[in-house]
């Protein structure tokens, strides 16, 4: 097959450049400038897909974004495969590989076409009523089968091999749509001295002008006016022109989302991103989105070869394609006469123009009559024939009272329809602008805007070319003025006018047949019919939003483009209420389907999120450390030696710390420098502890609550001087704590002279823990005496470590003698390596977070987020000793005094658990009960918060929150697990060195 339906002349295709492509494996050719749809039509192919539910053969209906039928999968391989692309918008390129969807094994022979035979049993909402019994059958049996049969394309089978770009942009005036109205608006905005972005979804600017063969503008042919206007805009310098760019969403405060398709139209492996997401903030927006032709609703109006009249004209005039040999036109609008004439001039036989209006009149009608085209006024269509292609139309006289006469079959291979035009109000509606029903136009048009937005041309119902241009220019000028530009004098455009058009119809055409026996499609994509809408109403649904959901009309990608007005027309007939009262459904973004890739943008793979690594990270990596994610950080979890598993590595690390020394990267701890004359007072009000009497050079464990009295965070705080505190937080809590403290500083205690600065990343923190910690560290320290007498537990000194200025903390989270060495981060790695090397003779090992967790659990030290869950008070956690009882106030203090928070209430308290069988390690999160034989629901007394194998104790151990736990020490509880019950004994939470002797080495 080679373009037998290509006209010898005409169109904007490049006849010198043949393009080869395949469709369902068949090799075909088209021309440069074709879409996949126009190329298929040039090859005589209308059959392009199978319908969503009934698997009916479907053809190309439209020539644009509204296409509901011709959805194709495109891509030479799975990494470049995109499903559900509209063939009307897929640009042809050499080597394009496209396939039809929702058919098996082939488009022509589709076994699921049986759905088309049992259609009476699967009306709208059938899945709400059927398949609900027996229980479980829906998910196991029916749903998978329905999903396999219904639907659109398939997901690609390989990860997306392309990349996507994103950009933020700002402009004074954003013009959406570059048809005549949009171009004129851009001209005016430029003239007003404004920064303009002009975008259009097509590959060329021009919109309807691209298929305008009749009119002249300001004395020159429209296409020449178009190219001169584009040249003028390009030379202006202040206009960014984006073609192949769909404005898909209108978001608050004049931000619009655009998708620019960069490489989809290019052959071969294109370099660079496939698409770019533009997030444009515009001072003013001009919407010039045009209009969409409405199909007519009549029995079997969905056969391949049935097309919108305007689309047929576009194929002939823009692409030089003859969409058929012999056409029947059914219309309620004058514009179909224009299409008939264009096709007639292209050599298509016009078998009949059936006009449902009794007395059509007007310029185009007269021209058609003059040309001798067979016009049948007051004529409706009652059905069609054909299977994979329409073969005939049943035309019947329509009396003024609505009665339908006897049908006559008129043979044809092309059936064109026009019910008039629907303004594209999608973006305006997304912006929450109010739509109003225009009785004269028979359509919803933009009313009061909710954003700084202007609507121009056909998308507000203006149709005459000269008026569209003038309207666009006026709106562009207004937008420029509103954006702060200079005044732009009004401009008129002289057009040698194509005759005016008018008319229109919304609803289902009368057909005189038993309504139960026919299917007249309202929404082609969702396979919903006039009968479905009537069924929905007869079942009691009244709101158009409910009717939409029950029938799925206008859902998914259609978003009302094709179906909205006809559905409303049917509803208004049945409900006998005017459309204006019924209202319209909500238009949701995106305007056309948008790839997930473009939303993900750069956030893929390693750049999915910011991965934070410490200065010591790559050393640990080289040592073979296994990492875990802690908030955004990567932390070394354990350092396995060759052949060790985690259990063995952690046991070895634990024993080394207890017996000799361990080195641990604590750099991720949050750090906040609290500075100012009121620093101590500020901390008094934030933390539960008392800070005023803490001497410089001393540390204190700080506990931070939320205002509701529950533990938010903890950390050791050092007083560096009278007016300076070094506050540490948990790794995950750093940002949260700083935000909360800033909140109180700025809004509750603005009178305090104190400032907060995050120093988390200023310092690398090297924890050196174990009985040999001091002897390993001592040779590195200059300017401080770190002997026990001079530097006891919980003290801090500024000195030099390994020649680097340091804040040296004597602190322990292991229960052993310990130091935390804070050095400027750039030096962290070098200091770490020096200490690590020097400590080897003493048996120093590097340990990770898992060992840290075990060691601290042996000591009963809590971890916020593990022992706490947002409902744990200081007393619950056994930390009420930390509270500065004499303080009048601190965050959370008042809440702790509320009923239910303290004395006399059986709250869950932190305790230890020892299993009867020392080898059994409990599962964290496991529930504790007193009576394992109690039938469910059992009385749950608490849960396990931390559980480990302790190499030190040579047995398992756990921490738990248990109701009234401290009073239950010594009691036996049970942990019911699948297949067994584990007996545990409640103990105190400290398993190791309860006296704290080891802290001093």
């Amino acid at each position: 097959m080679s373009q037998n339906f290509r006209l010898p002349t005409g169109g904007r295709v490049n006849r010198a450049k043949t393009i080869n492509f395949t469709f369902d494996g068949r090799r075909m050719s088209g021309l440069e400038g074709d879409t996949l749809a126009s190329a298929l039509l040039a090859n005589g192919e209308h059959l392009a897909g199978r319908s969503f539910k009934y698997h009916r053969p479907r053809g190309i209906l439209s020539a644009g974004a509204e296409e509901p039928n011709a959805l194709v999968g495109v891509g030479a391989d799975e990494g470049h495969y995109s499903p559900n692309l509209r063939a009307t918008q897929v640009e042809l390129f050499e080597g394009l590989v496209a396939e039809s969807q929702n058919r098996s094994p082939s488009l022509r022979y589709d076994w699921a076409g049986v759905n088309n035979l049992i259609w009476r049993f699967i009306p709208a909402g059938f899945y709400y009523k059927t398949f609900m019994w027996p229980r479980g059958a829906w998910t196991k049996f029916f749903e998978p089968r329905i999903r396999a049969m219904a639907g659109l394309g398939r997901a690609p089978r390989a990860p997306d091999a392309t990349t996507y770009a994103q950009r933020y942009a700002h402009c004074d005036v954003l013009v959406v749509g570059a048809g005549p109205a949009g171009l004129a608006a851009a001209l005016a905005a430029v003239q007003g001295g404004q920064r303009v972005i002009l975008c259009d979804e097509q590959n060329e600017l021009g919109g309807s002008l691209l298929s305008e063969t009749d009119a002249a503008i300001d004395g020159i042919p429209a296409v020449r006016w178009l190219s001169e206007t584009i040249a003028q805009l390009r030379s202006a310098g202040s206009v960014q022109i984006l073609t192949r760019t769909t404005a898909f969403g209108y978001f608050p405060h004049n931000m619009l989302g655009l998708v620019e398709r960069l490489t989809d139209h290019l052959p071969g492996a294109a370099s660079g991103p496939r698409e770019r997401l533009w997030q444009v903030r515009a001072k003013q927006v001009v919407l010039a989105a045009g209009e969409i032709e409405r199909p007519l609703v009549f029995p079997d109006n969905d056969r391949p070869g049935i097309m919108l009249a305007g689309a047929a004209r576009i194929y002939a005039s823009r692409y030089g394609v003859k969409p058929g040999q012999r056409a029947v036109i059914v219309t309620a609008h004058d514009s179909a006469y224009r299409a008939a004439l264009a096709l007639y001039q292209a050599g298509v036989g016009i078998a009949a123009i059936a006009d449902v209006r009794a007395n059509p009149q007007g310029g185009w009608v007269d021209l058609a009559r003059k040309a001798g085209l067979p016009v049948r006024a007051g004529c409706t269509i009652t059905g069609t024939s054909g299977r994979l292609r329409v073969t005939g139309a049943d035309l019947a006289p329509l009396a003024a009272d609505g009665t339908v006469g006897a049908s006559e079959r008129v043979s044809c291979d092309l059936l064109l329809m026009s019910g008039g035009f629907t303004p594209s109000v999608h973006l305006f509606s997304q912006s929450r602008g109010k739509l109003v029903y225009d009785e004269a136009l028979g359509a919803f048009v933009p009313g009061a805007p909710a954003e700084d937005c202007w609507v121009a041309g056909a998308c507000r119902g203006v149709s005459l070319l000269s008026e569209v241009l003038a309207d666009g220019f006026a709106k562009g000028a207004s937008a420029a003025r509103a954006a702060g530009g200079g005044p732009v004098p009004a401009r008129s455009f002289a057009t040698t006018q194509a005759p005016a058009t008018g008319g229109g119809f919304a609803g289902a055409l009368p057909h005189g047949k038993n309504p139960a026996s026919v299917r007249a499609f309202v929404d082609f994509q969702n396979d919903s019919t006039a009968k479905d809408i009537k069924l929905a109403i007869s079942e009691g649904l009244r709101s158009i939003e409910h009717i939409k959901r029950y029938t799925t009309t206008g859902m998914a990608t259609d978003q009302g483009k094709i179906s909205n007005m006809n559905a409303l027309g049917i509803a208004t007939d049945v409900l006998a209420r005017p459309i204006a009262q019924i209202g319209t459904t909500t238009f949701r973004m995106p305007y056309t389907p948008t790839t997930f890739g473009v939303f993900a943008g750069y956030a893929r793979g390693d750049l999915f999120d910011t991965v934070r690594r410490t200065p010591v990270h790559h050393w640990a990596q080289a040592q073979g450390a296994v990492f875990e994610d802690v908030s955004l950080w990567k932390r070394a979890r354990y350092f396995p030696l060759p052949g060790e598993d985690m259990h063995q590595a952690v046991a070895r690390e634990c024993r080394a710390v207890r017996a000799a020394a361990g080195i641990f990267d604590a750099s991720t701890l949050g750090k906040i420098e609290v500075v100012g004359p009121d620093a101590a007072e500020f901390l008094n009000r934030m933390y539960v502890n008392a800070w005023s009497k803490l001497k410089p050079g001393r540390l204190r464990y700080g506990l931070l609550l939320r205002e509701d009295g529950f533990i938010l965070d903890d950390g050791v705080i050092g007083r560096m001087s009278d007016e300076c505190f070094h506050v540490t937080t948990t790794t995950g809590g750093a940002a949260r704590v700083l935000t909360m403290m800033e909140d109180y500083r700025q809004t509750e205690f603005p009178e305090l002279k104190v400032w907060l600065t995050s120093t988390t990343e200023q310092w690398a923190v090297i924890a050196l823990q174990g009985p040999k910690a001091r002897e390993i560290l001592a040779p590195f320290v200059e300017g401080a005496d770190i002997s026990h007498a001079a530097m006891p537990h919980m003290s801090v000194v500024e000195c030099r470590v390994a020649g680097v200025p340091a804040r040296l903390f004597r602190v322990s989270f292991t229960g052993e003698l310990g130091f935390e060495i804070n050095v400027p981060a750039d030096y962290g790695r070098a200091v770490w390596e020096a200490i690590f090397a020097a400590g080897q003779p003493a048996g120093l090992v590097a340990y990770g977070t898992e060992t840290m967790h075990v060691l601290r659990a042996e000591k009963g030290y809590i971890i916020v987020g593990q022992e706490t869950d947002g409902t744990v008070t200081p007393d619950d956690a056994g930390l009420s000793w930390a509270i500065g009882k004499a303080k009048p106030d601190f965050v959370g203090k008042r809440a702790l005094a509320r009923a239910g928070m303290g004395e006399g209430v059986q709250r869950k308290q932190l305790v230890g658990l020892l299993t009867d069988d020392p080898q059994v390690v409990l599962e964290e999160g496991a529930q504790l009960v007193a009576d394992p034989a109690q039938p469910p629901p059992m009385t749950m007394l608490g849960h396990v918060t931390s559980s480990y194998w302790s190499a030190t104790l040579n047995r398992s151990m756990a921490l738990a929150l248990v109701k009234n736990g401290r009073a239950r020490i010594g009691e036996t509880l049970h942990v019911p697990m699948p297949g067994r019950v584990i007996r545990v004994t409640i103990t105190g939470p400290v398993f190791y060195d309860a006296e704290g002797i080891k802290l001093d080495g």
């Binding site: 770009a165 999120d609 910011t610 991965v611 600065t757 200023q762 020649g803 750039d826």
Partner: protein, 184 residues
């Protein structure tokens, strides 16, 4: 052993590619200075400049720069070898009033981005209007680039200085390189 330890740049482990317009800067002296928002300090001899009081504006001298980041908050930049001298001089000059001066030399690092497409590259992740009229030379602010917080300072018509916390540098760097390789 005084400061013989090797400094490790936050980008040390990142495979860098040649990019004429993107440059990672070496060590720099950095301080976060806080004063009461209504305090209007006289020129600071330690810096050789007056702190900018206009929101989002930077001031520069031969030896230092001060970037307004918030009311009463400035980011001070100096040469690394001058950092301790500047700190001591500032503490002496500000003595007697409440202030906070915290060294953050190692907390963050600097990148410079220049060239005719510099603003466009930034707009791949930064949602600000970087048109010269809206973001003139000398303007500075904290903002975001994709998922990282940055300080952005326009030092020339086609030149920006970026400050970012050290653990975010690799992310920022790699993204800017990717964006730079995109055709405009």
């Amino acid at each position: 052993m005084a400061e013989t330890m090797a400094r490790l740049h936050p980008l040390a482990a990142v495979k860098t590619v040649a990019d004429a317009h993107l440059l990672a800067q070496g060590p720099m002296g950095r301080f976060s200075l806080r004063l009461a928002a209504n305090a209007a300090p006289a020129p600071l001899g330690a810096l050789g400049l007056s702190l900018p009081l206009a929101p989002c504006r930077a001031a520069q001298s031969e030896t230092a720069a001060a970037l307004w980041l918030g009311p009463g908050e400035w980011l001070l930049l100096t040469a690394p070898e001058r950092a301790s001298a500047v700190e001591a001089a500032l503490r002496a000059e500000l003595a007697g009033q409440a202030f906070s001066l915290v060294e953050i030399s190692h907390r963050q690092t600097g990148l410079s981005l220049s060239g005719p497409r510099a603003a466009q590259r930034l707009n791949a992740g930064c949602p600000l209007d970087l048109d010269l009229a809206s973001f003139p030379v000398g303007m500075c602010t904290r903002t975001v680039f994709a998922k990282a917080e940055i300080v952005l300072w326009r030092t020339g018509v086609e030149a920006f200085h970026i400050e970012v916390w050290r653990s975010f540098v690799p992310y920022l760097w790699e993204l800017l390189v990717i964006v730079g390789a995109e055709t405009s």
